[in-house]
């Protein structure tokens, strides 16, 4: 007998026997019960996937406050869409003459001129800007007043102390009906020229890096610095009282200045001490030669910007300073956003006392540099009109900067899905938007620029607080993988059990189906 055939027969037999036994085992449970078990397995998997996982995900989620993204995006895309800057010019006509339709006629011309600007995208204004004319009495003495006076020839006179502009016209111009044109020219080309220029789109890109951000309070610090330790003194009290105080009085509605002065010794220049006499000061090396941190002069004790004005005398060792660029004995420098310094070539003698008469021209230099640092425009001559223009521009600028911060915050929150956004951020965003609403109200309804400015500073502050929230930045590094790793002891076994159960049920179905066939 062939052994292999016997073996094969025997295998077949065994298989038959086994499958018989399996089918017996399967049939020992009713079909209903089997079906129920399958349902149990499938429902557990369904509960796990559709209820368990979402609940786990929700419960372990990082808190992300809902930011008003649509509104912020709208503001970012349509800057200053709901803002109006409307100036009112009060007309006064002297010489007992009356022009009842002059405001209307001029208004048409002004509107036309402003409309012309919108045609060119470079020339268009970033905000809805307009001027209206009226014969009403000015509500306060801070209003723009345009006086019309008859004279031999046409001309314009700008007052230096108040915002009164006088337009001289001839009787001939009335006859030619040129008066509305003259008034329009005066208003747009003289009184508000700087303001219009500031609001033009093409001028938005050019930022003056010298200028500090506008703040209603600015600290001015006058310093007498000497490289030596020899006692010196200056008559700064009287000089400031006589010369600088009237200036601060002039500005008091716009900027409040706090002033101090100090004398500092041993403030040496960072010059290489070489034996030969050529201690040449090069202009491009000046930033390393003036070492403010070592002089310990710029301290942040004030919550508002500080500008420093320095009168510098070198030490005996380092003198005479050899200015490469100038042969003068004293050279002033403007340091962007920091202040100004006047370098002297020769040191002061021991016990020198600088009299106020010497300080007056120095303070004049400092004043003109102060105007540059504050970003005051050059035109027109009247400082109030210049300050007004700066103020209005600052409102819009702050506002746009604030909205920029908010939209950057949105971008950040969208690009980092794992970053937490705490409630404080949301509150700051809300506050910034509330302050913005107040600005809209102040500008559009009340023409109240001072309050609008205060609110615009708030917009800037709150939006920056929202962006630089400490908690938000700290939570940055909490990735999703971390969470999965921590919960793996739960998720791993559950998933494995469910999948193996499913596999078993599937193979069981296969066996049962095979048997049925």
């Amino acid at each position: 007998m062939d052994i292999s055939r016997i073996e094969n027969d025997q295998d077949e037999k065994l298989k038959l026997e086994n499958s018989k036994r399996i089918s017996q085992l399967i049939q020992s449970e009713s079909a209903d019960s089997l079906l129920l078990r399958r349902w149990v397995v499938i429902s557990i998997i369904l509960i796990y996937v559709f209820i368990g996982l979402p609940v786990w995900f929700k419960l372990t989620e990082i808190y992300r406050a809902p930011l008003p993204s649509n509104f912020i995006n709208m503001l970012q895309n349509n800057q200053n869409i709901d803002l109006k800057i409307h100036n009112t010019v009060y007309l006064r006509v002297g010489d007992q003459l009356k022009f009842p339709d002059l405001p209307e006629a001029t208004q048409i011309q002004i509107n036309h001129e402003l409309h012309q600007l919108t045609l060119d995208p470079q020339e268009s204004l970033i905000v809805d800007w307009n001027v209206s004319l009226t014969y009403d009495q000015p509500p306060n003495n801070n209003a723009y007043i345009l006086e019309l006076e008859v004279a031999d020839s046409e001309g314009i006179a700008v007052d230096e102390i108040s915002k009164v502009t006088t337009l001289f016209y001839t009787l001939q111009s009335i006859k030619n009906n040129d008066l509305p044109f003259f008034v329009t020219q005066t208003i747009l080309q003289h009184i508000f020229k700087t303001e219009i220029e500031m609001f033009k789109t093409k001028n938005q890109k050019i930022k003056n890096s010298n200028v500090i951000n506008y703040s209603p309070k600015v600290h001015l610090s006058f310093k007498l610095l000497t490289g030596d330790g020899l006692p010196i003194d200056w008559e700064i009290d009287q000089a400031i009282n006589e010369y600088f105080k009237p200036l601060t009085q002039l500005f008091k509605n716009y900027i409040e200045f706090s002033i101090d002065s100090e004398i500092k010794y041993f403030t040496q220049l960072n010059l290489k001490q070489t034996q030969n006499e050529t201690k040449e000061l090069k202009l491009n090396e000046l930033s390393t030669i003036l070492d403010f941190s070592d002089w310990d002069v710029s301290l942040d004790q004030f919550p508002y910007p500080q500008l420093n004005f320095i009168l510098y005398f070198p030490s005996e060792k380092q003198s005479p300073l050899n200015f490469e660029f100038s042969s003068d004995e004293q050279v002033p420098f403007l340091i962007p956003q920091w202040g100004s310094i006047i370098l002297h070539k020769y040191p002061l003698e021991e016990n020198s006392y600088i009299k106020k008469e010497y300080l007056l021209p120095v303070l004049e230099t400092f004043t003109s540099e102060l105007f540059t640092l504050l970003g005051l425009p050059k035109d027109p001559k009247n400082p109030f009109i210049r300050l007004d223009a700066l103020l209005k521009y600052t409102i819009i600028d702050n506002l746009n900067k604030g909205i920029d911060s908010l939209s950057s915050l949105l971008k950040l929150s969208e690009s980092l899905p794992n970053i937490s956004i705490p409630k404080t951020v949301l509150n700051n965003v809300k506050r910034a938007l509330l302050a913005r609403n107040n600005i809209v109200k102040y500008l559009n309804e009340d023409n109240d620029f001072e309050n609008a400015l205060l609110e615009s500073i708030k917009v800037l502050k709150y939006s920056e607080d929202a962006f630089f929230d400490r908690e938000m930045v700290q939570q940055n590094f909490f990735p999703q993988e971390h969470k999965v790793a921590v919960y793996l002891p739960l998720l791993g076994p559950l998933t494995l059990i469910c999948l193996l159960g499913l596999k078993r049920v599937l193979s069981e179905i296969k066996v049962v189906n095979a048997k049925r066939q």
Partner: protein, 653 residues
């Protein structure tokens, strides 16, 4: 002719010749001493190098200017070759009428960095202490200046603030500490309500503090940071307060490396407001002090050998009271003869006197006959009978010290009373505090002992006990303000009367609280520093000192606990779930059946089945091959893995 320069030292004696001989006799010292006559040349030389080209303008006139600034250095040798150096800088601001609002301030000398801060917070007095090291009162006696300028280890700050209410005062205080924190690079911004106390009897100023608004009150507030490391970054702003800014004058000696290398050092800043009753003008007075104790022999050793090496046999000084020969020596640590200069101690000489100050820079040395101190200028040595020197020239100064017997120092005044505090007890939840006061003299001592305990150290006053005396005799009164969790520390002020020649131990026990998870510092197991107790002796004379800080260990949790909890719970849930899942989806069958199913379904059976199949096929193929009888059993052996026994069994079937 006496050189012009020498006239400046009016009190100095022309003894340099004598000194020169003295030094020349000494072979160790190699300072070159020149004849005094030569110094005239030096003066000429200085004038030559000065380039007298100044800024000339008619509007700049010459006017003698002096400023209210003075500086003084006191040097005093202590036993066992230690040296106490005390710097004292005093600055006053210009008198100003503070009652009217100021819109303009002129700073001439007074530091501009601190004044707006004081004015904003209406601080009338401010006291800051930065200290490190241990004052050995057994050897060194009393603290300098009766301990008034000394603080505890770490940072201590107290201030008198004018305010309407206590809340206003606290708000000013927080603003003050935050600003000072930035100014001095110290973590004073961590001072909050839970570290702040309002001392009742301690720290009271003897002088009247001016009130600018009669409706206001003065609030005295104090806090301490005992675990703050005091270092160079705290010294730099300290020096910048001075008009000389460490460039000339005595402050040019202050080098962070040397000051902080000392055995004990204390920086103090005191600002006071003083008003003149007659003209109503007020001014600030700033008093800055640095006291430090250095080990002279250690510093000289380091200067000679920056890398420590064993002393050569020939240089060893053996104890003569013990046996010594070429092979045996009990070395004496401290050589009796000393010679050193001030620049050895501080690493640099004084670079010129301060010319801004109204008084000359003054250096005083407190020494006995065994010591001698000389001022050294340009290799010339000058001495004075009072050992006080006034410096007023813009040139380098150094001091030379020589001791025949360095142990012979001016007698130290012993401390009236000593105190030491320790924490005792065991376990993680309870502890005790014990402070031992020792009065070795024949006079009873009355003192106020102030303790500030953090809120997580809950002291029980009923456990207060006194060892070594009757509690009623010793404790005169107690001021006790219990803690509020996370808001207020425990504030205790004991008025104690320590009887003559006695040792009193005051002890009480406390509970340790558990902190919240996030409240533990990064090094939680290091423990929490308890600020030093302040002892203010009232009788028989005023003296102030502090105990050392204590280290309290709190029960600290395992900081990975949240993760462990999550992981453990997850595992348990997974376990429970799997059991229930199995019960629901599997059925109960016979053990034999289960076994059968297992073998049937198992991989082993499957593989065996596969092998059977292959073998069957091979056998079929074999059947097709021509028969070679001899080879059959060999083939069988190779291919079949079934034992023979089974084969026979099957064939039997």
């Amino acid at each position: 002719m006496i050189p012009k320069k020498l006239l400046l030292f009016l009190c100095s004696l022309p003894i340099s010749n004598v000194l020169a001989n003295e030094i020349k006799e000494d072979p160790v010292e190699s300072i070159e001493v020149s004849e005094p006559i030569q110094s005239t040349k030096t003066v000429e030389f200085i004038e030559e190098t000065k380039n007298p080209k100044y800024f000339q303008n008619d509007l700049i006139i010459s006017n003698k200017t002096t400023y209210p600034y003075s500086e003084e250095l006191k040097i005093r040798p202590l036993p066992k070759n230690h040296l106490l150096t005390s710097f004292d800088f005093q600055i006053a601001s210009d008198p100003v009428d503070f009652s009217s609002s100021l819109d303009y301030i002129n700073y001439k000398l007074f530091p501009r960095s601190i004044t707006p801060l004081i004015e904003k917070t209406k601080t009338r007095e401010l006291h800051l202490r930065f200290g490190q090291g241990w004052w050995d009162s057994d050897n060194w006696g009393e603290l300098p200046n009766h301990g008034i300028n000394s603080g505890g280890i770490g940072v201590e700050i107290w201030a008198s603030i004018e305010a309407k209410t206590k809340e206003d005062a606290f708000a000013s205080w927080i603003s003050l500490t935050n600003s000072l924190s930035g100014l001095f690079c110290a973590s004073m911004n961590f001072i909050d309500g839970s570290k702040t106390i309002y001392p009742v009897r301690s720290f009271n100023s003897s002088e009247e503090i001016p009130l600018f608004d009669p409706e206001n009150n003065i609030y005295l507030i104090k806090a301490a940071l005992p675990s703050e490391p005091v270092c160079t970054e705290n010294l730099t702003p300290f020096i910048k307060f001075l008009p000389t800014r460490g460039k000339t004058g005595l402050s040019s000696l202050l080098d962070g490396h040397r000051v902080f290398e000392s055995e004990w050092h204390m920086m103090s800043i005191d600002i006071k407001t003083e008003c003149n009753i007659y003209d109503g003008l007020c001014q600030y007075k700033l008093d800055q002090k640095i006291d430090s104790v250095v080990d002279i022999s250690r510093i000289l050793r380091r200067k000679k050998n920056p890398i420590p090496k064993p002393v050569e046999g020939s240089e060893l000084i053996c104890d003569p009271t013990k046996p010594h020969d070429a092979f045996q020596c009990f070395p004496l640590d401290n050589p009796k003869q000393l010679q050193f200069t001030l620049s050895d101690i501080f690493g640099r000489p004084i670079s010129g006197a301060s010319l801004i100050s109204e008084k000359d820079s003054k250096v005083c040395v407190d020494i006995t006959e065994s010591w001698s101190a000389y001022l050294s200028v340009d290799g010339q040595f000058y001495g004075t009978p009072s050992n006080c020197f006034e410096l007023n020239e813009n040139q380098s100064y150094d001091f030379f010290f020589k001791a025949d017997n360095s142990e012979d120092v001016l007698g130290v005044s012993d401390t009236l009373v000593t105190a030491s505090r320790s924490l005792n007890g065991y376990g993680q939840d309870k502890g005790g505090s014990r402070t031992v006061f020792r009065n070795p003299y024949d006079k009873p001592v009355r003192l106020i002992y102030l303790e500030t305990l953090p809120w997580f150290m809950r002291a029980y006053m009923h456990t207060l006990s006194i060892a070594g005396g009757e509690i009623d005799d010793v404790v005169e009164s107690i001021y006790y303000l219990p803690e509020i969790d996370r808001q207020r520390p425990t504030h205790i002020e004991f008025e104690l009367l320590i009887p003559k020649n006695s040792t009193i131990a005051l002890s009480y026990s406390f509970d340790k609280s558990l902190l919240l998870y996030a409240e533990y510092p990064p090094d939680a197991n290091h423990g929490f520093s308890i600020e030093p107790g302040v002892i203010q002796v009232i009788e028989p004379e005023k003296y102030q000192f502090r105990t050392s800080p204590a280290l309290l260990t709190l029960p600290t949790p395992d900081f990975s606990m949240p993760y462990n909890v999550i992981i453990l719970t997850s595992t348990l849930i997974a376990y429970a779930f799997s059991s229930i899942y199995n019960l629901l989806t599997k059925r109960v069958i016979d053990y034999d059946d289960a076994d059968f199913l297992n073998t049937e379904g198992s991989i082993k059976t499957k593989i065996r089945g596969r092998i059977h199949k292959i073998r069957g096929k091979i056998n079929i193929l074999k059947g097709l091959l021509p028969k070679r009888e001899k080879k059959v059993p060999i083939d069988d052996k190779i291919i079949s893995s079934i034992p023979e026994k089974e084969e026979t069994k099957i064939s039997g079937d």
